[in-house]
Amino acid sequence: MFHWLEKNPFLFAVGVFLTVAFAGVVSILPSFAQTSRPVIGTTPYSTLELAGRQVYIKNSCNACHSQLVRPFKAETDRYGHYSLSGEYAYDRPFLWGSKRTGPDLMRVGNYRTTEWHENHMMNPAAIVPNSIMPGYAWMFKNIADIDTAYAEQLTVAGVFGVPYNKPVPMADGSTKTIKMGKTVEDARALALAEAKLVAADMKNQDVKDMVKNGKIPEIVALIAYLNSLK
């Protein structure tokens, strides 16, 4: 029946490719533009938050934590409003995860604080008895990579038009502008200013000293990112 095709490797390969490629086009393209429009109130990440997001990725927090509140009553009761597509408009990559070994973090900024994260990230089981989350003590020493975060900001602003240094509409009718440095020195200064606000709420003296001396440990960037998840 199909023997002729099995004797012709070239046509066979073309046939397989078309069969396989076809579905991708039909299922991915039609909604592409619509699903990427930001929701009012969604802002790009600041330099420090973006550096924190990279810390999150570097440590694969997404292996245990989702960032996707599904529209179920039990989930909105636990985590808050279900997720909307546009809330992810500036998420590159997306961090929905596929396994909830720990709770969802989509809106963790709403119900946890800097101090709490500080204690928890150092040793989760000390705060939450029996927690199976690893402690991340080295984040209190490793220095966050602000330059790479800045490079990422420049890239997304340049290539995808992510609105840095532009007013972004907020839900209450006002606008908010997320700043991006003109030079890398600017960017470092912006990140440091933000880091000082975070460190002010922290108790760890080493961290406070480092920030005072112009260095930003990973934990500070990570907490800035976690606090931005709302």
Partner: protein, 307 residues
């Protein structure tokens, strides 16, 4: 009986037992999603085992047959047997079903998961509205405990002791350092009502001495308050002279003026939960996922545990 059937029955039983163990009978039996998941799990085990056993029986009893085709690759030949009828019918059936489902049954975008969510949420809310109407006393405290465990224990701890000073110890109304901090720095956490705040020490006038409150006075009044308004004559005097005007002579607060600092009362806890709080210990975020009754309940629970 054949060893094979025995094996199949053991595995089936094991998986059904596993499913049984996992089922949350207390809460799960009325949820259609739970029922469907269990049904799916059961079908999955039985179908796989049934079908595999069917073919394994053929290995035991049947023999290979059919016309060998011409081709032969490295000694591997092929029979020209037809496709198994059952398989072909089900394949065709699922394809037709799939097309029907997608084009006729539930055509593109006729289903909305958000719509379904809204219905579910409304149904659940309605169900509990009735129940909430006359929920009081111990029942309210019970309800509050469950709210507390899932929403508050992460910071305040399972025994509500605040986990080594990470959050307020809810077993006592106020700690001395908190009182001192409030007197020295004032407080504006919307504890009584929107915009009502307590002045810092530069606005706290001691009527007994006709002067601003002093360090020594702060210390003594703080001890007095933190100690549950007992002992400490000096502190009691300062309180009467400085604080009672707003907080009342017994510290039980006045509506719209100042909160109860002698014991937790419902409105205070509700306000803290609704607005969050920043103070000597740290920052508590506002908890937005709770409804009105849940806040009342957790307040009742906090009242019930504090001395």
């Amino acid at each position: 009986m054949n060893k094979l059937y025995l094996g199949a029955i053991v595995v089936t039983a094991l998986m059904l037992f596993a499913t049984y163990v996992s089922f949350d009978f207390k809460h799960g039996s009325s949820d259609i999603v739970n029922q469907l998941a269990i049904l799916g799990a059961v079908i999955l085990v039985i179908a796989t085992i049934f079908v595999v056993v069917k073919y394994v029986r053929q290995m035991q009893t049947d023999t290979a047959s059919g016309d060998l085709m011409e081709d032969n690759w490295d000694g591997v030949g092929e029979y020209d047997n037809p496709v198994p009828t059952g398989w072909a019918i089900v394949f065709l059936g699922t394809m037709i079903w799939g097309m029907w489902y997608y084009l006729v049954g539930y055509p593109v975008n006729s289903y909305s998961q958000i719509g379904e969510y809204n219905e579910d949420a409304a149904a659940l809310n309605k169900k509990f509205e009735e129940k909430y109407k006359n929920l009081k006393g111990d029942e309210l405290v019970n309800m509050g405990e469950s709210v507390y465990l899932s929403n508050c224990s992460a910071c305040h701890g399972l025994s509500a002791d605040g986990i080594d000073g990470q959050a307020a110890d809810l077993n006592v109304r106020l700690e001395k350092k908190v009182v001192k901090h409030v007197i020295e720095n004032g407080s504006s956490n919307n504890l009584v009502s929107e915009g009502m705040s307590m002045p810092d020490r530069n606005g706290l006038f001691n009527a007994n001495t006709n002067a601003l409150i002093t360090d020594a006075e702060i210390d003594s009044v703080a001890s007095y308050v933190a100690n549950g308004f007992k002992g400490n004559e000096a502190g009691a005097k300062v309180f009467a002279g400085t604080c009672a005007a707003c907080h009342g002579a017994d510290g039980k607060g006045m509506e719209f003026v100042a909160p109860n600092i002698a014991s937790f009362d419902s409105s205070l806890v509700v306000n803290v939960v609704a607005n969050g709080k920043k103070g000597a210990i740290g920052t508590m975020p506002k908890i937005t996922v709770l409804n009105k009754k849940q806040k009342e309940a957790v307040a009742a629970y906090v009242q019930s545990i504090s001395k």
